[in-house]
Structure formats: structure tokens, C-alpha cells
């Protein structure tokens, strides 16, 4: 019989250990899953987790996938810390890409050093605008932000589709539902010729640094933590929930919008209906795996990017189904949430006492 005994204080060691435990458990479950699918499990693990790290191209791709995940997850984590659940980052990502892309297409074929910064601003603004809807509805009407932000993902997907089928369709194209390829000055600079790694990764690093300072040193970060852990104490301190809802939605919306813009103006190079690749949802996993801590998110984002690239490689090399990666990611989040119990509780085996365990209140 297994019993849970509450700790007097949360265990800091467990806080940092459990993500590694979750990764290890996911690997084990992954081995079983591959065996079940009739594939050589160790070969699969090697292809997914080691091979991408062995080549320059693999590392370059790693940053390409990690950049949007880290950008979005950092923003989401700031909100999650406050108990404000923006889970519609995918929609904000789409609207950011769309807004930034529209700037490029509007001035086509003009270009210049002013264009990309303008697109970035538009991208962030697009994300903020989309995030402002749940923020406004929550602060004005106390509407549940989880459902609203999520519903807006589906709306954004349809909106993007309507745009590339209609006004933004490439006039010189073959009637495919996609925009023009962005002009030269409207694409994100790559870090090395012939590789797809781009400067977006540096923005992600900057977001991590800024998020770390905000949460660790700044009073706004402190207010966010208090609101998330004890809303009544936040009221006592005089922290405005309305203000914090807006701040967190603006930050997460801006970062998601920026991530969308980098994707559209980077690896993709145009607006297409398939732009939303699920980064907005995977970033939720990244945020939790990183313990809602920006430094942790940096590591978690890289790991998650690895599962994307390795997963693709494994699909090709071992003809694994494409959904394997998302199953992997889902399991990872489950194991992490399950192992969270170790942070606040000690496990005790044995003595099957019917009495419920616990310290006296």
C-alpha cells in the first residue's frame, strides 16, 4: 500500500529532479511502444535522441524547431504562474504570422532594412490583438479564458484559410491556396549559408533572459507568483488581477505572434494554410516540462525540438507513424505531472492503515 505524506515544505531537489525522472520514464514507455509497433526500440531511441545531434544540419534544425517552442512557452509560463491559462497560443501564433506577413505582402516587392523590424512589430501586435480578446472578456465579464482562447485557435485557423484562399492568394500562382513567397528583405536572416537556423533563436534566448529577470527579480513577476499561488493574498497585497491578466496575455500573445512571424518569414517563407504546426500546443508541454521557469524552458524546448526532428528522421528511416512524436510528447507531460507529487509529498510504502495519512491541521 502506497501512502502520501505531505512535506512541510516543497522539496527543491525534487522540483529539479522530476523533469529528468519524467524524461527517463517516457524513454522507458517509448521503448515499450516501439517494441509494440514491431520496431527495434533501441534503434528508434538512437535515431530520435542522438542522431540529430551528430550533424551540423541536425543542430541547425534543432534551433529552428526550438525557437518558436521556447518563445511561446516562455510567454505561457508567465501566465501559468499567475493561474491565467492562455492555451490559445496556436491562434496567436497564426495571427502574428498573418499580421507580419500582410506587412510584407502590402509593400511587395519593396524591401529594405526597415521592413523586417516592421514585420516583427506587426507580428507581435497580431498576437497581442488575438490574446487581447480572452483578456478583455475575462477582465470585463469574468469569462473563462481557457475556453475562449482555445475557441479562437479554430477561428484563427479558418481565418488564415480564408485569407490565403482569398485576398492574399498569390496572383501569379497556380491558384493554390497560398500567398506569394516573401520578397528578399522580408525574410529572417539565416545564421549560416545553406542552413535554416535563423536569428529567431536569439530572440528566444532574449525572451528567456527577460522572463528570468521578470519572474526572479521584478515586482511584477512576484505579483504574478502570488496571484497564482494565493489569489486572496494578492488581493490583500493590493495587486490588481485585471492588470496582471492583461500583462500576462500581452506578453504571451506578443511572443506567440513573434514566433508565428519568424516561422512564416523564416523556414516557410510565405503564408500557407499548413502554417499552424501545433507549436502553440506543444509549447504548453514545454512550459510545464521546464517547470514554468525560463531557464528550464530553454532546456525543455531544445529537448522537445529534438523529439520533432528525431521523430521525423525515425519516420523516414523506420517508417514509424507520424503521430509517434505527439504520443511521446503527451506521455512526457503525463509523467511529469504524475511525478510532481514528489515535490509536495513523500511516498511511504507498507503498513496498509485505513486511516488517512497526514499531519494534524
Amino acid at each position: 500500500m502506497l501512502r502520501l505524506l505531505p512535506r512541510r515544505e516543497p522539496s527543491r531537489a525534487m522540483l529539479y529532479l522530476t523533469p529528468f525522472l519524467a524524461v527517463a520514464l517516457t524513454m522507458l514507455a517509448g521503448l515499450a511502444l516501439f517494441a509494440l509497433l514491431g520496431k527495434d526500440p533501441f534503434e528508434a531511441i538512437r535515431i530520435i535522441f542522438l542522431e540529430p545531434l551528430m550533424t551540423l544540419n541536425g543542430l541547425s534544425e534543432l534551433t529552428v524547431k526550438a525557437a518558436p517552442l521556447i518563445l511561446i512557452a516562455t510567454g505561457l509560463a508567465i501566465g501559468f504562474r499567475a493561474g491565467i491559462w492562455n492555451i490559445g497560443a496556436e491562434g496567436q501564433y497564426i495571427m502574428g504570422a498573418l499580421a507580419g506577413g500582410c506587412v510584407a505582402l502590402a509593400v511587395y516587392p519593396a524591401g529594405g532594412p526597415w521592413l523586417l523590424p516592421l514585420m516583427c512589430l506587426a507580428g507581435a501586435a497580431g498576437g497581442i490583438a488575438w490574446a487581447a480578446i480572452p483578456a478583455m472578456l475575462r477582465t470585463r465579464f469574468a469569462t473563462n479564458e481557457i475556453l475562449v482562447s482555445l475557441m479562437l485557435v479554430y477561428v484563427a485557423i479558418q481565418f488564415l484559410s480564408a485569407m490565403v484562399h482569398g485576398p492574399l492568394r498569390d496572383p501569379d500562382g497556380l491558384n493554390f491556396p497560398e500567398s506569394r513567397l516573401f520578397q528578399g528583405g522580408a525574410t529572417v536572416p539565416v545564421l549560416a549559408a545553406g542552413k535554416r537556423a535563423h536569428v529567431g533563436f536569439f530572440f528566444a534566448l532574449a525572451a528567456v533572459a527577460a522572463g528570468w529577470v521578470l519572474l526572479g527579480r521584478h515586482i511584477v513577476g512576484f505579483q504574478i507568483k502570488v496571484l497564482g499561488q494565493a489569489p486572496q493574498a494578492a488581493r490583500f497585497a493590493g495587486y490588481s488581477e485585471r492588470r496582471l491578466v492583461w500583462i500576462t496575455f500581452i506578453i504571451s500573445g506578443a511572443l506567440a505572434g513573434l514566433a508565428g512571424l519568424f516561422e512564416a518569414a523564416g523556414p516557410v517563407g510565405q503564408l500557407v494554410p499548413a502554417l499552424p504546426a501545433g507549436y502553440g500546443f506543444t509549447a504548453i508541454i514545454v512550459a510545464f516540462l521546464g517547470r514554468l521557469n525560463p531557464i528550464g524552458i530553454l532546456l525543455a524546448g531544445l529537448l522537445m525540438a529534438l523529439t520533432y526532428i528525431g521523430g521525423e528522421a525515425a519516420q523516414i528511416a523506420m517508417s514509424l507513424p507520424s503521430a509517434t512524436t505527439s504520443v511521446f510528447q503527451g506521455m512526457l507531460l503525463f509523467f511529469l505531472l504524475a511525478s510532481d507529487v514528489l515535490v509536495n509529498y513523500r511516498l511511504q510504502f507498507g503498513r496498509a492503515s485505513a486511516g488517512s495519512a497526514g499531519k494534524k491541521r
Binding site: L4, P6, F80, W85, I87, I133, L137, F141, A142, T143, N144, I146, L147, V148, L150, M151, L152, V153, Y154, V155, Q158, F159, S161, A162, H165, G166, F281, T282, I284, I285, F288, P321, S322, A323, T324, T325, S326, V327, F328, Q329, G330, M331, L333, F334, L337, A338, D340, V341, N344, Y345, S356, A357, G358, K359, K360, R361
Partner: protein, 302 residues
């Protein structure tokens, strides 16, 4: 079938998966648990039901498999949130992400196959009546089942002692524990029921509505079901009203052209989601009556 009958029949078809998912989640939330993983349980139910039906060639094992798969997903959520006390919001999201991935993995060999037309009730004479015939006496069996489940839940919650205990646990789990009711056990049971219902709702999509398997075919219906429970103020029959209202919005996109609406398909497809937001805004202005322990972790300390 004239246009009006066609619209009303497809309204019922669009609403029924929402009825299943929402009534299941209603019971879960009445017990004080917030399972945001309805979407994940639905999609797993959709593929499990579809695969079992294709493999056995019969609907009964298909529907049973859908219920079982949904319930298993819910129990997984239960282990993490009730026994290991993880955050319910995060765990619900995890369940959805996991369900979407796993269903795609399981479903790969089944894409492109069709389950064939689901049998409809036919009572000679009655079913041939205009309008009323197809609407009241000519639906598929699942429609009647969904309404029976709602009636059963309404009866259970307000007419049985176990239902009273379930509501009490959702209101104040510490007090219920102090009196001596097994809080966690009731919640596991509620979760399993909610999962089975969500599984049925998913299977309705893949076996009746479509009837074929498409990845991510739930398309946010699990989330809409969650909104419906709030909309219904946790009252069973109001979830039905809400679901049929949403069914009406959904079929606008099917019949939009027929009704002469000159709007791009994409904008019509947005309607159910926009309607959900609108409804959430409207109801959040009134004082709602969520179960007081909803979403709070319970650990018996004394």
C-alpha cells in the same frame, strides 16, 4: 425529405455527440473534478469505436470499445489528479494532447475506410409522417440513447442517495470526507462515467455522423462540450438545450449555401466557435452556480 426536415435532422446529428460529451462532463464536474480532457477522450472514443466496428463488423462491440477507451483515458486522468494530486487544468490539457496523438497513431491503418450507414429507427407509418416522422421516429438509436442517458443522469443526481452524495462531494469534499463518504472513489466513478460518455460522443462522430475516421475529427467539440456544461449551469436537461442550439449553429455551414448565404465556407465554419465565446460571455454575466469544490485537489489530511 424537404429542406426543413433535412436541416432539423442534421441538427440532431450535429448535437448528439455534444449531448453525450456534455452530460458525462456534467457528472464529473458535479463531483468536483474539472476534466479538461474531454476532447482527448472523445477522439480516443472515435477511433476505438471505429476500429472495433471495422474489425468485428458489428456496432455493439464498437460502441463498447469506445466507452471502455474513453473510461480508461478518464481513469488515467484520475490516477494523476486524484491519486497523485496533480493540477487538474494541466492534466486535462495533457489528456487532450495525448489523446490526439494516440488516436492518430492507432488510426493510421483505418484512414480512408468507411463504416457504412448507421441503422435508423423505422416504425412503419409513424416514421413516414412528414417532418415528425424522421425527426421523432426516424433517428438513429444513438440519439435516443443520448436522451435516455440525460434522463438517467437527471434522475440519478436528484432522486437517488448516491446522486446526493456525489453532489455533496462536489460542494464540499472535506465535509463529505468528515461524514465518512469515500470522496476519491466517487470521483473515480464519475470520471469513468464521463469518459465513457465522451467516448460514445466520439464514436458517434466516426460511426454515425461521418461515418469514417479522420485525424483530429473532433475539431474542438470536446471543448464546446465543456462550455455547454457551464452554459447549462450544471443542469442535465439544459445541456441538451445547449447542444441542440449549437447543432443549429453548426449546420449553418452545411446548409449555408442551400439557404442562400453568400459567405465563404471558412467564415461559416467559425460560427460554432464564435457562438461558444458569445454564450460564455452571456452566461458569465449572470451568477453561476459551479460546484464549490470544482477543480480543487483533495487530500485527506485528518
Amino acid at each position: 425529405m424537404d429542406l426543413l426536415t433535412g436541416i432539423l435532422v442534421s441538427l440532431v446529428v450535429a448535437a448528439t455527440p455534444l449531448v453525450f460529451a456534455a452530460i458525462g462532463e456534467l457528472v464529473v464536474e458535479k463531483s468536483g473534478v474539472l476534466n479538461l480532457g474531454v476532447e482527448g477522450m472523445m477522439i480516443i472514443g472515435a477511433i476505438a469505436g471505429f476500429a472495433a466496428t471495422i474489425e468485428t463488423g458489428s456496432y455493439v462491440p464498437g460502441l463498447l470499445a469506445a466507452m471502455l477507451a474513453g473510461a480508461l483515458m478518464a481513469l488515467l486522468f484520475g490516477v494523476i489528479t486524484l491519486s497523485l494530486l496533480a493540477n487538474q487544468v494541466a492534466s486535462g490539457l495533457a489528456l487532450t494532447l495525448f489523446g490526439l496523438g494516440l488516436s492518430a497513431l492507432i488510426g493510421q491503418p483505418y484512414s480512408g475506410k468507411s463504416a457504412g450507414a448507421f441503422p435508423h429507427l423505422y416504425i412503419p407509418g409513424l416514421s413516414d409522417l412528414p417532418l415528425i416522422g424522421p425527426l421523432v421516429f426516424g433517428q438513429d438509436g444513438m440519439v435516443y440513447l443520448s436522451l435516455a442517458v440525460v434522463a438517467g443522469v437527471a434522475w440519478f443526481l436528484h432522486r437517488t442517495r448516491a446522486g446526493l452524495v456525489l453532489r455533496a462531494i462536489g460542494e464540499n469534499h472535506d465535509a463529505a470526507h468528515a461524514i465518512g463518504y469515500p470522496v476519491v472513489l466517487y470521483r473515480y466513478a464519475a470520471l469513468a462515467f464521463g469518459g465513457a460518455c465522451a467516448g460514445l460522443g466520439g464514436a458517434y462522430l466516426s460511426l454515425v455522423q461521418a461515418p469514417l475516421w479522420v485525424e483530429r475529427m473532433t475539431a474542438g467539440r470536446g471543448w464546446i462540450a465543456l462550455a455547454l456544461v457551464v452554459f447549462a449551469a450544471w443542469r442535465p436537461w439544459r445541456t441538451v438545450a445547449g447542444a441542440y442550439l449549437f447543432g443549429g449553429v453548426t449546420i449553418l455551414q452545411l446548409h449555408g449555401q442551400g439557404l442562400g448565404l453568400k459567405i465563404e465556407a471558412q467564415y461559416l465554419s467559425m460560427l460554432p466557435y464564435l457562438a461558444t465565446i458569445l454564450v460564455l460571455v452571456l452566461i458569465s454575466r449572470s451568477r453561476t452556480v459551479a460546484p464549490a469544490s470544482l477543480g480543487k485537489p483533495f487530500h485527506a489530511t485528518t
